[in-house]
């Protein structure tokens, strides 16, 4: 097998639970997916479906009372494949990977920078922490790191980079702030970029610019990106492969065209139906997914989607369907397509 076919990141049966006073919340409940080198993977799902928690688990940034209870996260480094779950969250190797090899673009660029440190200062700090990714044989100096920061600002399309590195985040507009955040994420030449709804907090025009920038940078550096969003339109623009999540489980995954044109899982179909179309009839109510997202303490037994599913069968409330290949390129966890259930 060639190395190209081997995944960069491989998540297997990941489970994350939060122990709260009210009870146990299983935020991620047996999620599996792969990210290939240089691939843009889109992860879609409603709010609270475990997208962000999964991403934090990859970076080992789950705060108490959350805990990874089961599963493996294999990440391919230069030195070989490591299981991130086995690494100590505050240990040296994990900190080396974090920011160095896997970088995060957070949701809110407003609050993601410290307001009392200049943005340049915070990026310089990241570069100095992973100085070997720029200069393997010696430590970079502060002024070298500053020069790199200026270059990064220019790369992400921030004008007057020499002056802008000395500004505070609250002096920048939303778009510039997100560009600065992208510059920080790219500052150590990561192999994998996790973009956690990077455009939800900014206006639509700026959003289009930021997406174009990310596509451009992805093509230039061939960085793999996990792109998390609840916006299917953004997924269609950005991703080549899509993972659809619901209540902490993967419902369906496959290449972007197949997911959009031939969705297998009833949840994916329902999601796609709820997108307004330019060519649809006007003054007709947009189809919605019936029912509401269950409260996290009351997960339905069996398939998590069965209480809202239009095609629900008797078996759906008893057994949990496995994620199995369906057709040539997709995988779905639904008894409409196969009989395989998870072991109880």
């Amino acid at each position: 097998m060639s190395t190209e076919a081997q995944p960069l990141l491989s998540v297997r049966d990941l489970r994350v639970s939060f122990v709260l006073d009210e009870g146990l919340v299983r935020a991620v409940d047996g999620t599996s997916f792969d990210v290939m080198p240089g691939q843009v993977l889109g992860v879609v799902g409603e709010s609270g479906c475990g997208k962000s928690v999964t991403m934090r688990a990859i970076l080992q940034l789950i705060d108490r009372p959350g805990r990874i209870t089961k599963g493996e996260i294999h990440f391919r480094r230069d030195s070989g494949v490591v299981d991130l779950v086995q690494l100590s969250p505050r240990g040296g190797e994990m900190r080396d990977i974090r920011g160095g090899e896997i970088a995060l673009i957070p949701q809110e660029p407003m609050a993601a920078f410290s307001p009392v440190h200049t943005v340049g200062d915070q990026i310089v700090e990241a570069i100095l922490l992973h100085s070997h990714r720029w200069q393997p044989d010696r430590k970079l100096s502060r002024s070298e790191a500053r020069d790199i920061t200026v270059g990064l600002f220019r790369d992400v399309g921030i004008s007057m980079p020499e002056q802008r590195i000395y500004t505070y985040s609250w002096q920048l507009s939303g778009g510039l702030r997100q560009r600065a955040m992208i510059a920080m994420a790219l500052s150590c030449k990561p192999r994998l970029l996790i973009a956690d709804e990077p455009t939800t907090a900014i206006d639509v025009t700026t959003q289009a610019q930021v997406l174009a920038l990310l596509r451009d940078l992805q093509a230039r550096y061939n960085t793999a990106i996990i792109f998390i969003t609840h916006d299917l339109g953004v997924i269609a623009q950005m991703a080549s492969y899509v993972v659809v999540m619901y209540l902490g489980r993967v419902m369906e995954e496959g290449p972007v065209d197949d997911i959009f044109h031939a969705p297998k899982h009833p949840y994916t179909r329902a999601l796609l139906r709820s997108i307004p179309s330019l060519y649809g009839q006007t003054r007709v109510a947009l189809p919605v997914i019936s029912g509401a997202l269950p409260h996290p303490f009351n997960r339905p037994p069996g398939c998590p989607f069965h209480p809202r599913c239009p095609d629900v069968m008797e078996r759906c409330s008893v057994a949990v369907p496995r994620l199995m290949p369906v057709g040539t390129s997709q995988l779905a966890s639904c008894f409409l397509h196969h009989e395989e259930a998870e072991q109880a």
Partner: protein, 328 residues
């Protein structure tokens, strides 16, 4: 920034005029005057004094004038740096205050630094280890510290030191150094005596400060920039000190200003109980004996420190927080 400071400084004389008037009204308020109190003291010891003599003194000190005239005379002298004469000690008030101010400052500053040196690390520990055993212990200690009146604590500590360790911890010097000129030995002796009153004075402030630090830091630790810093791969303790602690500190900086006058005035009861030679007992005695110009002088210094302290903390806050510095 410079303009802002100048504006605030320009306001200072006006505030001092208002404060001085309020202070004068208050020290004038009790019925009678110094001479009434003096006559009462004499009477209780069996001696007496002729009514003419009293009236003569009253005229000499201007106590027979209307209040506003007395105030005007007082302020006129204050402007020339003259704090007047203590009626009781028959010495210039400036000298009386001057003799005590060195030790008062030493005690206050020592107590202030002790407070911060204990409270900040304790608050950081509590916030970074919430609901741990250490956090619970610190919480209990803090509540006890806030709830215990400091003069009570002073009495208990003095009793414990005396009863179990045969130590006399009142005063700031051992008897052999009390009237000795300054020397290295006297300094060491002072240091050996200073920590206990400083601790007593600072304990409630320490407990309160450490609770505030804990609450501020807990808030900051949940902010997204902490996640960003973790995602960079920073070491946890470095990250905590560099980002959230730095931000949790800002509200505390605005309280620094209140601490200086608070430590001066807060020391009144404790200093009397522990027999410390600072301004506290001097003020108490001046108030009891209606030695009004001495009391007024001391209160005026307190007010001045309050204004300067507030200004100082505002300037400090602007220096450390770019949102205030750049914004204004």
């Amino acid at each position: 920034m410079t303009r802002y400071i100048l504006q605030r400084l320009a306001l200072l004389p006006l505030l001092m005029v208002i404060y001085s008037f309020v202070i004068f009204v208050i020290i004038q308020a009790p019925p009678g005057d110094f001479l009434t109190a003096y006559v009462a003291t004499l009477a209780s010891s069996g001696s007496s004094i002729s009514q003419e003599q009293i009236e003569a003194w009253r005229a000499q000190y201007g106590l027979d004038q209307p209040m506003i005239v007395q105030y005007w005379l007082w302020v006129k002298h204050l402007v020339h740096g003259n704090f007047g004469l203590s009626l009781e000690y028959q010495r210039p008030n400036a000298d009386l205050i001057g003799e005590q101010i060195g030790l008062t400052l030493a005690l206050a500053l020592f107590s202030f630094f002790l407070t911060w040196a204990i409270a900040i690390p304790a608050g950081i520990y509590s916030a970074t280890h919430p609901r741990s055993i250490g956090d619970h212990i610190l919480t209990v200690v803090n509540y006890v510290g806030v709830a215990t009146p400091n003069f009570m604590l002073a009495l208990i500590l003095m009793w414990v030191a005396f009863a179990y360790f045969d130590l006399s911890v009142t005063g700031l010097y051992s008897p052999e150094y009390a009237d000795a000129p300054w020397s290295w030995g006297k300094f060491l002796d002072l240091m050996a005596h200073l920590w206990l009153p400083a601790l007593v004075l600072g304990i409630a402030g320490t407990a309160r400060l450490s609770r505030i630090m804990r609450a501020n830091l807990l808030d900051e630790l949940n902010k997204p920039y902490v996640v960003t810093a973790r995602a960079k791969g920073m070491k946890e303790w470095r990250l905590v000190l560099r980002y959230p602690v730095r931000l949790a500190f800002n509200p505390l900086i605005s309280t620094i200003g209140w601490y200086l006058p608070m430590l001066f005035s807060g020391s009144l009861i404790v200093a009397t109980v522990m027999n410390l030679p600072n301004i506290g007992p001097l003020l108490l005695r001046a108030l009891v004996n209606q030695d009004m110009y001495l009391a007024g002088g001391i209160l005026l210094i307190y007010s001045f420190l309050t204004i300067v302290g507030t200004l100082l903390s505002d300037i400090l806050l602007a220096l450390v927080d770019p949102r205030i510095r750049v914004g204004s």
